[in-house]
């Protein structure tokens, strides 16, 4: 894409050849070969890990339940970090960190792009992502089950409430016959 603003996007999902990666000429000019490879690997990771589907599911969930809206930002950050880690494993942590930092610095004065999520260059998120890339990667996964457990408890509670409701309407039929 011929655009002086440095940005890269993964569009769609990476199944059946539906995914697309769009990179601006500004970004290609800004980065060296290693950084370009790392940034492209990052965008490929978004497609391979179906992040568009996960982001859509989170948007629809937040539309159904506005209490969940703050999680969209957390999930957005986690999806970027997940793509970062996949790209770092395929290329180099340093090259990716420097590619992200260079692109972020170049877009600092382009408010629309910085806020709009091109290459997810939110300023605070960039600092956290670069710091995470330069630190040792965490392998902690067990606590993820806590999140799933909360959802399972909610599902069990609704199942219980639905069962109670069914019994209430059965009772209402009996009361009506008296």
């Amino acid at each position: 894409m011929d655009d002086p603003v440095p940005q890269a996007h993964a569009l769609g999902v990476g199944v059946l050849g539906l995914g697309r990666i769009v990179v601006s000429s500004g970004l290609l000019r800004l980065l060296d070969a290693d950084e370009r490879a790392a940034v492209l690997a990052h965008e490929h990771a978004h497609l391979e890990q179906h992040h568009a589907l996960l982001a859509t599911a989170s948007r629809l969930s937040a539309a159904l339940n506005p209490l969940l809206a703050p999680i969209r930002d957390d999930l957005g950050y986690v999806l970027e970090r997940s793509a970062d880690e996949a790209a770092a494993a395929a290329t180099s942590r340093g090259a990716l960190a420097s590619g992200i930092a260079k692109a972020a610095l170049a877009t600092v004065h382009t408010a629309g792009v910085a806020a709009g999520g091109a290459f997810a260059l939110h300023r605070q998120a960039v600092a956290a992502r670069v710091a995470a890339l330069l630190a040792d990667p965490t392998e902690r996964t067990r606590a993820a089950w806590v999140l799933v457990a909360v959802a399972v408890v909610a599902a069990a509670a609704v199942g219980w409430a639905l069962h109670d409701t069914e019994r209430f309407f059965e009772s209402a039929r009996l009361w009506s016959r008296r």
Binding site: D74, A151, L162
Partner: protein, 126 residues
């Protein structure tokens, strides 16, 4: 029915708090899948809870009562939820449905330009 119907709302708040803490501490891929699984499940559970809270109100409508073979007065006299709470839950359900429709409609134009672009060239760099 008892307070258990309010658990999904508490779970929503708990999930928000936990996601803040765990998003930066877990391996990103694990956090992504856990959040992506938990979020829709809790959202659907919340809708289920709203349906449970709302249903005693429409059950008093004579046509619905005739279909269900109960007397509207029996439901009105023994309803486990106050009519005001049911009305509030009905309004929340309608609002959620509206938000969902708007979100689905808003994402449709975003997909169209993607499908018009040429396929990616090359493979993932190794």
């Amino acid at each position: 029915m008892n307070t258990v119907v309010f658990v999904p709302f508490a779970a929503s708040v708990l999930l928000v708090a936990l996601s803040r803490v765990l998003a930066t501490r877990l391996r990103p891929s694990a956090a992504a899948w856990a959040l992506s699984a938990a979020m829709p499940l809790v959202a659907v559970c919340t809708v289920g809870a709203l349906v449970v809270l709302a249903c005693p109100l429409p059950a008093r409508v004579p046509l619905v009562a005739a279909l269900g073979r109960w007397a509207p007065s029996a439901v009105a006299n023994h309803a486990p939820v106050a009519p005001a709470v049911s009305a509030l839950a009905l309004a929340a359900l309608a609002w959620s449905a509206g938000r969902l429709c708007r979100e689905v409609r808003a994402s449709s134009p975003r997909r169209a330009p993607c499908s018009e672009r040429p396929p990616s060239v090359g493979r993932r760099p190794r």
